[in-house]
């Protein structure tokens, strides 16, 4: 097999001074192989870089030199030397390979469940770690400590390099369970002014009976009991006392409102995200005064393997500021919707016995005052021993 890098040239030398030529080559210590003489001609092989010297020796001894180069890798490359596109392409590939093997191309976060990856990436970029930074500039131990102190919900961080990826392993803090204060001595007092309609006491001494009217703060179940010998026992008073009580809520709305409405004009702006570097594929700026935007990222993939090349499309929708005036009915309907939501969210554990809505309308606003008559639990725990 020929030397693929140094190149190999077959020479054929003819002439009268053949052995003088052979020994001159020998004296100059030139590597020459496969040499033999047939008739008056020498056949041999030399490395490409020795051809010049061989030519000069052949001239010196007045020999006729013929040669051709074997097809080796270096010969092929030299043959392509005028094809600048190939050379530039090869240089770009080599350069890109060298560059991307030394910088962070992707950051992979592992082990996070409650802390979002975006939050971790933002924290990493604050400490100078983002896509495109050379691996040599990362101080792993320091960065791990910094990230751990920046994010409260992280108990441990580990970073390591895998190829062109920076892998950030996260261990999150396991939250401490809430303390159940079931054993602290306490009384149960009334949360509202109410009429007691039902009760169920599990611990403590009931202080009221059905039909009694109580004010907010009145004791319902006593957590301090004493027996006939004067021995005092502290309890965690527990129970459920149902009462009928009143509650009210105000809902106010304005007839005139400023709204942002879409004009129907949209514009798409695309960016090519290449290894974290965003290359805009558009010119100019977004000229909308008010706009909302929606970002869609579409990564390229080959045979199911996701590449670090993403097409990021931002769609801007133009908005215009307009002032609309609602009629009383429209505003009432809006407020009624709010009332419905309030009841669903805050009064879902009570039974609404009565609902009385009163309206108060002036030039700018409409106020709906809702007075409820509710049936529900009126208990509120109150600790006896205050720290």
């Amino acid at each position: 097999m020929k030397n693929q890098l140094r190149g190999c040239i077959k020479i054929n030398v003819k002439g009268k001074n053949l052995y003088q030529f052979i020994n001159a080559v020998h004296d100059r210590r030139i590597g020459i192989f496969q040499q033999y003489v047939k008739g008056n001609s020498l056949s041999a092989e030399i490395y490409r870089n020795k051809l010049k010297i061989i030519k000069s020796i052949a001239d010196e001894f007045d020999m006729e030199l013929k040669y051709f180069e074997y097809d080796t890798v270096s010969a092929k490359i030299i043959r392509q030397r005028r094809r600048f596109g190939l050379i530039i392409g090869a240089l770009i590939v080599i350069g890109a390979s060298l560059y991307f093997s030394n910088v962070v191309v992707t950051i992979e976060i592992q082990g996070n469940e409650t802390v979002s990856s975006d939050l971790i990436l933002t924290a990493l970029s604050e400490i100078g770690i983002k896509e495109g930074i050379p691996f040599g500039q990362i101080n792993y131990i320091r960065s791990e400590n910094q990230l751990q102190t920046m994010l409260d919900d992280i108990s441990w961080v580990g970073m390591h390099r895998t190829g062109h990826r920076l892998v950030v392993e996260i261990t999150e803090i396991i939250p401490k369970p809430d303390m159940l204060k079931n054993r602290l001595p306490c009384n149960v007092v009334a949360a509202y002014d109410a009429e007691i309609v039902d009760f169920s006491v599990r611990d403590g001494q009931l202080m009221k009976k059905i039909g009694d009217y109580v004010f907010a703060g009145d004791m319902l179940i006593n957590g301090v009991t004493s027996d006939s010998t004067g021995h005092v026992t502290l309890h965690h008073a527990m129970g459920s006392i149902t009462g009928i009580y009143k509650n009210s809520a105000d809902f106010q709305g304005s007839f005139t409102k400023e709204r942002m409405t879409a004009t129907g004009e949209t514009e798409k702006r695309r960016k090519l995200k290449l290894f974290g570097l965003e290359i805009p594929l558009y010119f100019g700026r977004n000229h909308y005064e008010y706009s909302s935007s929606e970002v869609l990222e579409r990564p390229f993939s080959v045979f199911g393997i996701q590449l670090p090349i993403v097409l990021k499309t931002t769609e801007y929708t133009e908005l215009s500021r307009s002032e609309t005036t609602l009629s009383a009915d429209e505003l009432r309907a809006e407020l009624m919707e709010k009332i419905y939501l309030y009841e669903q969210n805050f009064l879902d554990e009570c039974e609404i016995l009565e609902r009385k809505i009163t309206e108060d309308e002036n030039a700018d606003t409409l106020t709906l005052t809702v007075e409820y008559r509710l049936k529900g639990d009126i208990c509120k725990e109150k600790e006896i021993l205050i720290k």
């Binding site: 020994n23 020998h26 047939k38």
Partner: protein
Amino acid sequence: MFDNLTNSVQRAFFLETVFHVSGNRELIIENCNKILECSDVFMSLSSTSLVVQIWGSELRAFDYKTKGLVIRGKISHIELVERGKRHEKSAEGLHKD
């Protein structure tokens, strides 16, 4: 006496002709000064004190950069002749080239 001295010096400085024969396929010669004849059936080499004559077929000479020569091919016969006592016929053959 002079011959003895020459031999001693050559031995001391490793200037003697050294052969390494691998079967009949390869012959390595160290301290080869000149190629006197080089064809695919016969090769004649001049070393410090010997003329080495090699017969065979498909003989090829390789790489004599460091005063060494490798001969590959099918070697059938090697003859070593002291330089001063060469046969007239052999010498004649050399000068013809």
